[in-house]
Structures are given as C-alpha cells and as structure tokens.
Amino acid sequence: MLILYVMIVGAAAFTIQPEEHTVAARNCQFRGKHFKKYFRVEEEPVVLRCPQARSASPHLNIMWHKNDSGRLVPGDEETRMWVQDGALWILPALQRDSGTYICTVRNASACDEMSTDLKVFENTEASLPFISYLQILTLSSSGLLVCPELSDFTHNKTDLNIQWYKDFAPLDQDNRKSLSLGGTTHLFIYNVSVEDAGYYSCGMIFSHNGTRYNITRNIKVRVNQKEEEPIPVIVSPHQTILASLGSRLTIPCKVFLGIGTKSISVVWWTANGTTIDSAYPSGRVTEGPEKEYSENNENYVEVPLVFDPVIREDLNTDFECTVTNRMSFQTLHTMVKEASTFSWRIVLAPLSLVLLVLGGIYMHRRYKHRAGKSYGLTTVKLAMKIFKSHPIKIKEIK
C-alpha cells in the first residue's frame, strides 16, 4: 500500500514537474505584442529578431516558441529553423510558418516575453500591396531608394551586390536615370520625374550550406511635389498704437500671403510672450476671428487683437503678432500708447470754437463800425466830386 502511494505521488510529481517548468516560464513578464509585423514571401530566408533584445548580448538567454503550438522552435525534427545570436532564422520560410512567435529573454534577474507576427505570402504579383514598403522621392531633385531590412544577410559581406528592378524590368548599371551604389543597399535616382513612381523590387543572393536563396524586397515609390511656398510678410500694425484708456481698441495684424498661390500660414498674437487666451483668461483682450481675403490677386490674412477696454496695464505690455508657414517665422512687436494729444484736442476743440466765434463776432462788429464810417466819407467825397465836376460841364455846354 505504502509502495503504491509512493508510486502514485512519485508519478504525480513526475508528471507535474514539466508543467511547473512551463508555469515558471510563463511567470515571465509579458511585455506585449510587437506592433511591427513581418511580411515576407515564401521560399525566402526570414530572420525574426526579438524586439526586447535587438542587439544580442552574451548574458541573455533568448528562447522562441510559436503561439499556436506552444512548442519551442526550433523543434527537434526541424531543420529549417534555428536560433542564432538570439534571432530566429527560418530558411526558407513557408506559408505555414505564418503566425505569432513569442521570444523569452532571460538574464540572471529578469525574464521578459514579447510576441511578434510573421505572415508569409505566396510569391506573386497579387501579394505586392501587402508586402511593399513605401518610399518617397521629391520631384526635380535627386534621391535615394534603399533596399530595406537586409542587415541580417549583409553582415561581413564585402561583395554586396543588389539587383534592382522597376516594374519587373531590371535596371541596368549603364542606365542614365539611376545608379545602384556598389557595396551598399542604395539606388541613387537622378533628377526625379513623375515617371519614376511605381513598384520597385530589389534583391540579393544569400548562400547557406551551399544552397543559394533569393531575398527580395518590394518598394512602392511615390513622387512628391517640391514644397515651394511664398514667405508671408506682416504688413501692419504699426509699432505704436494710440488709444485712450477705457475705450475699445482693435489692432489688426495684416499679413501678405503672396500673389496667386497663397501660402498656408498661421497668424497669432501674444502678450509678453504668452498666448492671448492664457494671458487674459477673463477675456478682456481677445484674438478676433481670422479673415482671409484677396485684393487684386494679392492674398491677405488678418487677425485682430481686441481690447475691451484698454487699461493702463496694456501700456506696459509687449504685444506681438506672429506668422508662420512651413518653416518660416516672422514677428512684429507693437505697443499701445496713451493718446495724450487726443485728450488735449477734446479740450482745445470747443475752446478754439468759442474763440473762433468770439473772434468772428468781434471782427464782425469792428467791420460793421468801420464800414459805417467809410460810407460817410465816400458820400462826402462823391458830393464834392459832383459839386466840383458841375462847373466844368457847364463851361463846356457854354
């Protein structure tokens, strides 16, 4: 009986043991799924790198297993897969290798796990949209295309030779449009035109144990327009703005955006380097609505700064209008000055009016008086003239 009991316990312990081992393995902290997935084509070599340990270090123990089977890879009978410097090599990859792979990284004190997805596609044209890398060239300038993710196969390779194809036709070394830079994964393209857009593929031969494998990468090339934008210019406001305390004031910031094609600009105001909405939470000073308009094909944008009302504090504040487009930046400082001349004018205006009226009345009176006197004189003179002229006339008649 005792022997039987010992045997049962022993057998139980024996069967539990491997499970405890896997439980211990599962105690590793799962760091999540690596978002970047691997998309490869069948019959080509694939290298999966553990995202937790990109550069393999000798103190790290890295193990791989496949999520669906839970078994460690490589399996005993597996000859297509092996772990080398912490990376999982699959040579060549088959469509059935698609799935989630989990790498377990252990050192003396910690254990981390992370998963990564591999999808192996059939090597046909229909797979292109699912496996291509996007690369961008700029119109009318020179650019580089790069045959991506080959570093696992190009290490210690001195005679690297990359063959390039455009829309499945090989790009010869003697063509005038592009140049495959020897010993690198780069294709140099001269003076990019719209026709340079399309599907490219690049590849190399990788030999292992006397077998030669093709490694191809597919690139979708987009050609972008050159970014040419007119630089915006702040036209107004003036450096000082006159205002009277207690009154409402609007300072428009007017920006010239160019002729015809307008630049995409952002205009805003700041007060002592702070945005208006955070400098004046009460809303006494606000930025008005942005207004875009054209005058004779010249494009402008205007953003007003509205004070309701102007207070003494504003006279010591540095207001700044800023305009940016793409990477250009322009600012204009403005200060609010108290319109002292304006208040004098208020006093002077009625005063001068009174003086003018008084002056007018005085002048009028004076004129009236003097006009009366002179009238008398002229009549006397006239009478004398008549009186004098008469004897002469008489004489002549005689």
């Binding site: 760091r31 690596h34 978002f35 970047k36 997935k37 998309f39 790198r49 995202p51 937790q52 990109r54 949209p129 699912f130 496996i131 291509s132 890398y133 996007l134 690369q135 961008i136 700029t138 300038s141 580089l144 295309l145 790069v146 991506p148 993710e149 570093s151 780069h186 972008n224 050159k226 970014e227 995409i264 952002v266 805003w268 700041t270 380097g273 702070t274 945005t275 208006i276 909405d277 955070s278 606000t286 930025e287 008005g288 609505p289 942005e290 940016t324 793409r326 990477m327 250009s328 930046f329 322009q330």
Partner: protein
C-alpha cells in the same frame, strides 16, 4: 440721427463677427492650429515609430505603415521649434546623461513652455535647411543633432558626430495638409 444709424450698423456687424468667431475657430482650436503636422523620414527612407515606449526609426511595410509617427511642430522663434508626437502629447527633449546627451519623450503641456525659457530649452531644436533636407540641433546642447542609425529599428537619438557614416542626421520634413 445719421451718426446713430452708423454706430448701430457697427454694433450689428460686431455681434455678427463675434458669433462667427465662435463658430469658426475658438481659442482652443486656434492654439491647436499653431501646431503643424509634418511627415519625417531620413535620407535612407526610414520613418519614425514607437516601440517599447521609445522612438525608433525603421522601414514599415504595408499594414505597418499605420504605426508611423508624424511630428508635431510648434515654432517658437525663427528656426527654433518644439518637436512632438502622438498629436502633441509627447515631446522630444534632450537630457544630459554623463558625457552623452540622451533623447527623451516627455509628457508635458508644451504651451506652458512659452513662459519658462529655461525649461523650454531642453525641448528646443534648431532646424536648418540643407537643400531639400533638414537637420535638427539641440538648442541646449550645441553640436548635438537628432539622428537615426544606418540600420533599421534602432532608437532615434542624438549625436555630436554628424559626419559619422553609421549615423543619419539629414531628414526630409514635409508638411501634412492643414489641420
């Protein structure tokens, strides 16, 4: 009477403008508008993405393209800019660590940085145009440039040897359509 009619029409147009402003571009929206989204890729065609809470540069295929991080740019002065990701939630900063300068991602409200020049310096990059490419120098650490490794899937970092063949410091930087 004429004057009264004039001021009344002003008042009406003012009310109209005020209502219009609220509908079109409120203060919060305007602040967001001051940020510009750019697409960044290095001269070796690597784009930025986040892996293990780190900004890395690598090649992204088809469905992976959605991982690409666009850069939020907030210009502070001529040629000076803050660079952010995740729609302006995380900002790139340069922090001294020994004799190296480390690139960090910090979750800050960047609009507060305008008030504190000293605080803002570690977030500030000086961008210079070099033909069709752009380089980004840390304003706090002259001579240190934003860089990627020539190999893919490696962290974006800072280097004081921009001519080193294993480092890439020149980027294409193109504005995305307006927000």
């Amino acid at each position: 009477m004429e004057m009264f009619r004039c001021s009344l029409s002003h008042l009406i147009s003012l009310i109209f403008l005020l209502f219009h402003s609220e509908a079109a571009c409120g203060p919060t929206r305007r602040r967001l508008c001051k940020m510009r989204t750019f697409r960044i890729w290095d001269v070796n065609q690597k784009v930025f993405y986040v892996s293990n809470n780190q900004l890395v540069a690598g090649y992204l295929q088809a469905a992976n393209a959605k991982l690409e991080e666009k850069i939020e740019v907030m210009l502070t002065e001529s040629n000076n800019a803050f660079l952010g990701i995740h729609g302006g939630k995380l900002w790139l900063s340069c922090v001294k660590s020994g004799d190296k300068i480390r690139l960090q991602l910090e979750e800050v409200d960047i609009t507060d940085m305008g008030k504190n020049k000293e605080q803002a310096k570690r977030f500030t990059f000086i961008h210079s145009q070099n033909g069709s490419t752009t380089s980004f120098e840390s304003a706090d650490n002259p001579g240190w440039f934003l860089c990627t490794e020539s190999e893919g899937d490696m962290p974006v970092s800072l280097t004081n040897k921009p001519r080193d063949a294993t480092k890439v410091t020149q980027f294409y930087f193109q504005m995305e359509p307006q927000c």
